[in-house]
């Protein structure tokens, strides 16, 4: 056993932390949040240059990382700084699926993604699928040499900015079945594809993606027909590691801000941290932080394991992070008092990142039930 980061990962963490501390302060981020695109292309390019995206792909895929701990190192730092740029959607999800399943011509995209010149999105969830990965209703029908896609994809993060969208659709079987789901690489300007965008509460943007007789050549399919579920589940596992690590980083910021505030804010003539009611709660948050850190290590460390081990660790971690995250976000706000309720204050944004992280890839309740199902299976 060894709980130290490798030298390369340690370097990546240090570089990234320094860069974000200097370039991604509250004022900069608040400007990005209020902008029309909800992201900064300048920050994107600079982070790509630092190797942030390359770290999310394996060497065979053209990157220099791509393992669970590479993902967790990168996203913990992004989370610590409250970064809203869609690295998860472009690199881990969209890019990752292309890299996992693409043929020779399709994987050419990965190079562009790593270089920071291509944006991606993964259009999978639907209005009635909630967090179930196999409840795909969007249809893919073979029409001569072509394929026709029809359906509605819900809350697709980064869909407006994406140059290509990876779309899931059913070629056979019924919603709720793993078999029959395929993936397609759809250029953003394809006819019949409409993107209705909006801002997200915790920053960034998403869209409803409507597919209305979207006509694609059969060569747009990623991997084999009807056999994409296994790859989707594995990619969502990687994305869950990213999401949980991001939440961990944000929780770390929240607890630091709170600790500092308890030591400086005075009421009744003394620092409020000297009131035991608050001191004990702070201690509880620190205890939960250790739990959260271990949970993320468990998920990241088992990302390359067999399916059952991997998924049961993912569900365990998502469940714990949802609970611990809520506690840290709510108690940090409470212990700050009114100041944490203001939009301008760093904690307000950080708390939103933490809590809304539970709405991606399954929430606390969903993963508790899934953990039980996986344990008895």
């Amino acid at each position: 056993m060894n709980f130290d980061l490798t030298e390369e990962r340690q370097m990546l963490q240090d570089t990234l932390r320094r860069f974000l501390r200097e370039r991604y302060d509250t004022a900069t981020r608040n400007k990005i949040l209020a902008s029309d695109t909800g992201m900064s292309s300048e920050i994107w390019e600079q982070l790509a240059e630092l190797g942030v995206i390359g770290a999310l792909f394996t060497e065979e895929q053209g990157g220099f990382g791509g393992k669970g701990f590479d993902i967790s190192v990168v996203f913990e730092e992004l989370g610590r700084a409250g970064v809203v740029e869609p690295f998860l959607d472009t690199a881990v999800l969209g890019g990752g699926l292309v890299a996992d399943l693409g043929d020779e011509s399709q994987v050419a995209l990965v190079e562009e993604i790593i270089a920071g010149t291509c944006q991606m999105a993964f259009a999978h969830g639907e209005p009635t699928s909630r967090y179930d990965l196999n409840r795909v209703q969007t249809s893919a029908k073979v029409d001569g040499d072509d394929i026709l896609l029809n359906g509605h994809k819900a809350v697709v993060v980064n869909a407006e900015a994406a140059d290509h969208i990876v779309v899931s659709a059913r070629e056979s079987g019924a919603p709720g079945e793993d078999a029959g789901i395929s993936l397609f690489l759809v250029p953003a300007d394809t006819k019949g594809l409409t993107v209705q965008g909006y801002a997200l509460l915790a920053g960034g943007r998403a869209a409803e993606v409507m597919l209305d007789d979207v006509r694609l050549p059969a060569s747009a399919r990623l991997g084999k027909a009807g056999a994409a579920f296994t790859a989707i589940e594995a990619r969502v596992a990687a994305a869950s590691v990213a999401q949980c690590a991001e939440t961990l980083g944000a929780m770390d910021t929240a607890t630091h801000l709170t600790k500092d505030y308890l030591l400086t804010r005075k009421q009744f003539g003394r620092p409020i941290g000297t009131f035991q009611a608050l001191a004990h709660r702070m201690s509880d948050l620190l205890i939960e932080m250790e739990q959260a850190r271990s949970a993320v290590i468990n998920a990241a460390g088992h990302l390359e394991a067999d399916r059952k081990t991997r998924e049961s660790n993912i569900s365990a971690t998502k469940n714990l992070m949802g609970r611990a995250g809520r506690l840290v976000a709510e108690d940090s706000i409470q212990m700050h008092g009114g100041i944490a309720m203001t939009q301008e204050y760093e904690l307000a944004h950080i708390a939103k990142r933490i809590v809304m992280g539970d709405h991606r890839f399954g929430d606390t309740d969903y993963h508790l039930e899934r953990f039980i199902a996986l344990s008895v299976a």
Partner: protein, 401 residues
């Protein structure tokens, strides 16, 4: 003990129902549905006040001699329950249930004669100037000063108030100010009524974390306030301030809000699908909903027990603190459930800052801005005396030697 309504009470409930069915404008109940009425404009709220006033129900808490309805605890509970079920707006509390009881108990005849009718007619919109940047939980440490001018006609006020809810709508603010710096903190505070149009007052909005411009900073620079606007005696404001806070706390249990919120959660969970069946059948989610419903049923009875005792003459003291803590825990849990129920559709956000983003957000369940509401209602355990301060009060009162 009898938990059922009497014939009289049932008649009253029917009267309330009929009134709400006939008089509550649909555009107002639509706005209240799912959001506790955060989107109501000043005009909306004034319209509702006028409708209630015409019915004689604007100030059910006031004694009859001041033009109130003087409802008993059960009547108030019935109204609250029906109002919640009908998605009726609530009245803005600062004048009606905070300042008015203070004036009625400690104000002069002239003050009551002048200010109370203006409240009912909607001539004045009041806001509460208690908190300051350095004086939150430790309210008595407030620093805004009021010094009498040489002629003895005016107080000159200097300082800053903050977190002033809906101060942007107000033309009047009641303030706690320091009139004596040389005595124990609590003994040098006075209670002043200040016209917001007086030169030297500046109101700056604070945007809350859910994007709403709900609170403000209010700055005072050499603001002249006529001495007639002092309530009660100079340097005795702390007594009045605390009296007001007990009134602020009684309404804070929010049983009606919780009941309405819980109904919304159930509705959402019946239509949202999870794993091929309605979310309400997911064991984890169902258990959470049941748990909070069980807590709410008991709290609703606690609320009735406590307010009926208070109506019989004893002021709710430590029990009000208990209601505040439990009531806010329940309300916040319901907000959390609503956010969860909406799933991925809790993420979209209508941002004022980004042009065009207010155009129809996707909301297949008709859930409304549940996540924004969840964050906004974190305030419930912070204001009106934080839950930590309430627990201090409970401990100090119950364990006093």
């Amino acid at each position: 003990m009898d938990l059922s309504y009497s014939a009289e009470e049932i008649a009253f409930r029917d009267e309330v129902r009929t009134f709400l069915a006939e008089k509550l404008p649909k555009d107002l109940s639509d706005k209240v549905s799912g959001s506790d009425g955060d989107d109501l404009t000043k005009d909306d709220m004034e319209r509702w006040h006028a409708i209630l006033n015409e019915q004689g129900w604007l100030v059910p808490n006031w004694p009859k001699k001041f033009g109130g309805a003087e409802w008993n605890a059960v009547q108030r509970h019935i109204f609250e329950e029906e109002a919640a079920a009908a998605n009726s707006p609530r009245t803005v509390p600062f004048g009606f249930s905070m300042l008015a009881p203070v004036l009625q108990k400690f104000g002069s005849q002239e003050q009551n004669d002048y200010w109370l009718p203006r409240m009912l007619n909607g001539d004045d919109w009041w806001c509460q100037g208690y908190s300051e940047p350095g004086a939150g939980s430790d309210l008595a440490s407030l620093k805004t000063t009021a010094v009498k001018n040489e002629a003895g006609t005016h107080y000159v006020v200097n300082g800053q108030k903050t977190w002033t809810t809906l101060g942007q709508h107000a033309n009047m603010i009641f303030c706690l100010v320091r009139t004596d710096k040389d005595v124990k903190q609590q003994e040098g505070i006075s209670f002043l009524l200040i016209d917001m149009d007086t030169p030297g007052i500046e109101v700056r909005p604070i945007i809350l974390l859910d994007g709403t411009p709900e609170v403000n900073e209010v700055w005072f620079t050499d603001v002249e306030v006529p001495v007639e606007n002092l309530v009660g005696k100079e340097n005795e404001g702390w007594t009045y301030a605390k009296y007001l806070l007990t009134h602020e706390r009684t309404n804070i249990a929010g049983v009606g809000f919780s009941q309405a919120g819980l109904n919304t959660v159930k509705r959402l969970a019946k239509s949202e699908m999870s794993n091929g069946k309605p979310l309400i059948f997911s064991p984890q989610f169902a258990a959470r909903v049941a748990q909070v419903e069980i807590d709410l049923k008991a709290m609703s009875t606690t609320n009735l027990r406590i307010i009926s005792k208070a109506a019989a003459g004893s002021a709710p003291g430590v029990e009000a603190s208990m209601l505040k803590v439990k009531g806010t825990i329940i309300r916040q849990e319901i907000n959390d459930l609503a956010r969860r129920a909406a799933g991925v559709y809790a993420m979209p956000f209508a941002s004022e800052a980004i042009e065009g983003s207010n155009a129809g957000l996707p909301d297949p369940l008709g859930a409304g801005p549940v996540a924004a509401k969840y964050f906004n209602n974190r305030k419930l355990s912070i204001f009106g005396g934080s839950n930590e301060i309430q627990r201090e009060i409970i401990a100090k009162t119950t364990m006093r030697g």
